[in-house]
Symmetry: C2
Subunit: 93 residues, 2 copies
């Protein structure tokens, strides 16, 4: 699956992400959409998945897979930092 079907969660208004997910399934006719987030945005990714799947795409989309993991990166002070990541895959039923 190309990155076209991924939605990265950040600090834009919440409904931007919900609309983004819904439009992948409707306007773009995607079979699967992957919602991705890191760190503090992980809770938001779950909110987006829940609201998109249950409120807007009710009965037509379900959670296919959820992966968690860690990424290491170097912060401004040159220290190695670990951050958690999540990938929630929604698919058409």
């Amino acid at each position: 699956m190309g990155d076209d079907n991924s939605v990265f969660i950040g600090n834009k208004p919440f409904m931007n992400y919900v609309t983004g997910v819904v439009m992948q399934f409707t306007t773009k006719n995607a079979n699967e959409v992957i919602i991705k987030a890191r760190g503090k945005f992980i809770a938001r990714a779950v909110d987006v998945a829940e609201v998109a799947a249950k409120r807007f795409l009710e009965e037509t989309v379900e959670v296919k897979d959820i992966k968690i993991g860690s990424e290491e990166f170097e912060n401004k002070e040159g220290k190695q930092v670990r951050v958690s990541i999540i990938e929630i895959t929604l698919k058409k039923k």
Copy 2:
């Protein structure tokens, strides 16, 4: 599985939860531990799972299952509010 094997994530110091998960597997010899969280604590639940499984229980424990969902409750103003939940099940390999 009884609630004994569940760890609920809140705002106590982070390592309390990591230690709680690790001790379920070691001292209490559990085969599975479920890490549960709601709302903003969801990101923290993923952190706890990652740190416990990868740093402290390296190679002996893996993610078996991750569930997300929603709970409705009435807030102080009497309004129905939706909150996301997560349950991460770790198991011994």
